[in-house]
């Protein structure tokens, strides 16, 4: 390499020049290190890809639902059996209309037991769909309409190819007779996949084809609203006080340590606290978004306080000194200068805290939000559930069709989370200032 090295070599005993070898070794070590790092990243990305891939592969079919075309005769004698007022028409036996329509499609099925099986081709929700149709448009009474009704969940599974037809009958979800009916419908093009709007507009149901996530999504929204309303102001005020006004002494040190500890407390503990204090002592209604929101607010408080404090800390002292120097009061310094500059960081922390609260189930278990709720909650005290709880409940259901529903609900939850995190990143990129 350099001249000096060569002259030194000439001057002393001739030794083999190892510096090149050592250099190569160092470069090799560096390359290996980089390779390990890259492998670690690839492993993480690979795991994420497997996770997302399996969820998407399992779940994409839940966004579609098998429908069967039926020629339903809107029989006057059935619909207007009790009179022609809307109330009487709402009470009519629409099941009979649906059953008759299927029986007409397969006139050769005469046996009572077989007919019962035949009726099971279509969803139990089909009569309600016909009822809504008739009530919306009473002119349909007396006519025959071709209606696409939802197929039963087992037929849905069959149509989507989740049933192995080569298996012997006693090991198959669908028996030979039903398979025959399905094939005949298929040949006549009377069965097809349509977009599953019910998944987004329906609420929880024990029938997979009628189950939807609207109730849980609204519940999540109400719960997070309460969480945000409670935790954001409290956390920001606490952070400002601790960072800008509080003296540095034993007491504030203790508080700081405790906030950090609270951030690491398992979330179920907050659920127990909610059960003991909020429900049993204050008597707030169980299973309500209000209680869920309070519990989640307690849980996210430390997260937001910590991130808000570090955002405030990042504002350079020169800004404060300048403000104080031209005569601003301490409150003015904080509200006019420090807080606006720290706000992007505070908001980012809040959004990440909210995203964490959105995915939480454990504390909600204790306050009764793991529940079967059919109605969409209309207020903060109505019984409701949230998205991750809905996923948990579906994942534990025996019906095969809930497997895809579970994955689809996970996709919706992930979409919400990604959106929230994207907003956080955007806010940071757009408004953050570096000094």
């Amino acid at each position: 390499m350099s001249e000096m090295a060569q002259t030194a070599e000439e001057a002393t005993v001739r030794r083999p020049d190892l510096s090149n070898a050592r250099l190569r070794k160092r470069y090799a070590a560096e390359r290996r290190f980089r390779l390990y790092g890259l492998l670690a990243v690839l492993a993480a990305v690979g795991m994420l890809a497997v996770l997302l891939g399996s969820i998407v592969l399992n779940g994409y079919s839940a966004f579609l639902q098998t429908h069967i075309a039926l020629d339903v005769h809107m029989d006057e004698t059935v619909i207007m059996a009790e009179g022609d007022t809307p109330e009487a028409m709402a009470d009519a036996n629409y099941r009979a209309l649906v059953f008759k329509a299927i029986e007409r499609r397969f006139p050769s099925v005469r046996d009572m037991g077989e007919q019962r099986e035949l009726h099971r081709l279509v969803s139990g929700g089909a009569p309600r769909a016909i009822k809504d149709m008739v009530l919306d448009n009473p002119a349909l009474v007396g006519t025959t309409q071709t209606v696409w009704v939802k197929a039963d969940d087992e037929i849905d599974m069959l149509h989507k190819g989740y049933v192995d037809r080569t298996l012997p009958e006693n090991r198959r979800l669908v028996n030979d007779r039903t398979l025959g009916w399905y094939d005949s419908l298929r040949e006549a093009d009377l069965i097809e996949l349509q977009f599953n709007t019910t998944f987004f507009t329906g609420t929880d149901s024990r029938e997979p084809e009628q189950a939807g996530i609207l109730g849980a999504a609204v519940g999540s929204f109400l719960t997070l609203f309460v969480t945000l309303l409670l935790s954001f102001p409290v956390a920001v005020l606490a952070a400002i006080y601790l960072e800008e006004f509080a003296p540095k002494n034993r007491l504030t040190d203790l508080i700081e340590v405790n906030i950090n500890n609270l951030a690491a407390v398992p979330s179920i503990v907050f659920g127990l606290l909610g059960l003991a204090v909020i429900i049993n002592f204050f008597g707030f209604p169980r299973s309500s978004p209000l209680v869920g929101g309070i519990v989640l607010a307690l849980m996210t408080l430390p997260t937001i306080i910590i991130s808000a404090r570090s955002a405030l800390k990042a504002v350079p002292p020169s800004v404060r000194e300048a403000a104080l120097g031209i005569g601003a009061s301490r409150i003015q310094t904080v509200t006019h200068h420090v807080l606006p500059l720290a706000l992007p960081g505070v908001l980012t922390g809040t959004i990440i805290g909210m995203a964490q609260a959105l995915g939480e189930t454990a504390p909600l278990l204790m306050v009764g939000m793991v529940a079967f709720v059919v109605a969409v909650p209309s207020g903060f005290t109505d019984a409701s559930t949230v998205l991750p709880v809905q996923i948990f409940l579906w994942s534990d259901s025996p019906e095969r069709a809930f497997v895809e529903k579970t994955s689809a609900a996970i996709m919706v939850l992930l979409a919400f989370l990604i959106t929230m995190n994207a907003v956080a990143v955007f806010l940071r990129k757009r408004f953050e200032r570096r000094w």
Binding site: R172, L173, R206, F284, R286, A371, V374, D396, P398
Partner: protein, 348 residues
């Protein structure tokens, strides 16, 4: 500006929060808690009930049988649930707890049966077990030459030559589950009582000997999620799983059930109690709430309708095993007249 509106929002929340207990004083929606085994059936009934009556759809929480009865027996009033589901009968201690808290009248309704199956992958060979063999496979200590020794059985064929030459691996429910309680009673105790060595032990020791599961990896607690057990069984041909009948019903393409004491877990065998691992499912109604919370009477009627829990009712499609006809009739009458259970039957 931001601060001002935040402060207003915070105050509004506090006001809303303060106003809450007032609205909690009345309730027009039935609250149900209890067993996760009964949950799929009860929620189906609730859905029908909500759709077909003008009452609000009840809310069901899945808390487990024990947890449900604890909440149920906590007291009378709108903040306590009206009905609890259970996958076992109420215990004497729980009846006492109810009585102590002023709940004097509770209606008991038996709704049907559920089988606990021991199943393995459909690709493996089917087996036929006895409760005796089940206990020998799973207990920590088994009798040998009149003494209890650490369980030496590593393969099924070590227990009995007719069983497959495969490693013993059984996935089962954790101790918190009602399925585990029932399995303990119906399989483990029934099996171990057949051994002289154990039957001669004093009561406390006998229970310990019967119900202590081996810890060397042959018995695996797989958590409450039965779907997970099903997945593990399909992946491992050696493994057996212990779970409810409805999961077998939905996974016939992947799983097969073992015969127990010579009986297959079929609807008729479970309903007639021939299959030894069958248990009853129940729900309990607080009589003091009937007529106060609207709809309880109608809910009980809906549940005990022939079209619901009968032989061709919609619960059967969900995997419920109906009671025999005469028993169903008797329970329907009891339920609809809200005949309270007699605490003396439990106190002994």
């Amino acid at each position: 500006m931001i601060k001002k509106s935040l402060a207003i929002a915070a105050m509004a929340t506090v006001a809303a929060v303060a106003a809450q207990p007032a609205s909690a004083q009345s309730r027009d929606q039935i609250r149900i808690v209890g067993s996760s085994t009964v949950y799929p059936f009860a929620s189906t009934v609730v859905e029908h009930f909500g759709r077909e009556t003008e009452f609000k759809t009840p809310v069901i929480e899945s808390t487990g049988s024990g947890g449900g009865l604890k909440l149920f027996c906590a007291g009378i009033g709108v903040q306590h649930p009206d009905i609890t589901n259970a996958s076992r009968r109420i215990k004497a201690s729980e009846v006492k707890r109810c009585m102590d808290n002023g709940i004097k009248q509770v209606t008991e309704v038996k709704i049907g049966s559920d089988g606990i199956v021991i199943a393995n992958s459909a690709d493996a060979s089917a087996v036929s077990l006895t409760t005796k063999q089940i206990w020998l496979a799973l207990a920590e200590k088994v009798p040998q030459d009149g003494k209890l020794v650490m369980n030496p059985n590593q393969k099924w064929s070590d227990i009995d030559g007719s069983l497959p030459d495969r490693k013993i691996e059984v996935l089962g429910p954790p101790p918190t589950s009602g399925t585990r309680d029932a399995f303990n009673e119906l399989a483990m105790e029934a099996g171990c009582e057949q051994f002289e060595t154990v039957a001669s032990l004093p009561e406390g020791e006998m229970e310990k000997a019967c119900l202590t599961y081996r810890a060397d990896g042959a018995w695996i607690e797989a958590g409450e999620n039965d779907v997970l057990i099903v997945q593990k069984l399909t992946a491992n041909e050696n493994a057996f799983g212990v779970f409810g009948y409805s999961f077998l019903d939905q996974n016939r393409d992947k799983l097969q059930a073992a015969k127990v004491n010579g009986f297959e877990p079929t609807v008729s065998n479970i309903s007639s109690d021939k299959y030894p691992l069958s248990r009853s499912l129940w729900f309990y109604v607080k009589n003091a709430h009937v007529g106060v919370i609207p709809g309880i009477k109608e809910y009980v009627e809906e549940f005990t309708k022939e079209g619901t829990w009968g032989r061709y009712g919609y619960l059967v499609e969900k995997g419920l095993i109906p009671l025999p006809d005469d028993e169903r009739k008797a329970w329907r009458e009891k339920a609809r007249s809200f005949e309270p259970l007699n605490p003396d039957d439990f106190m002994g």
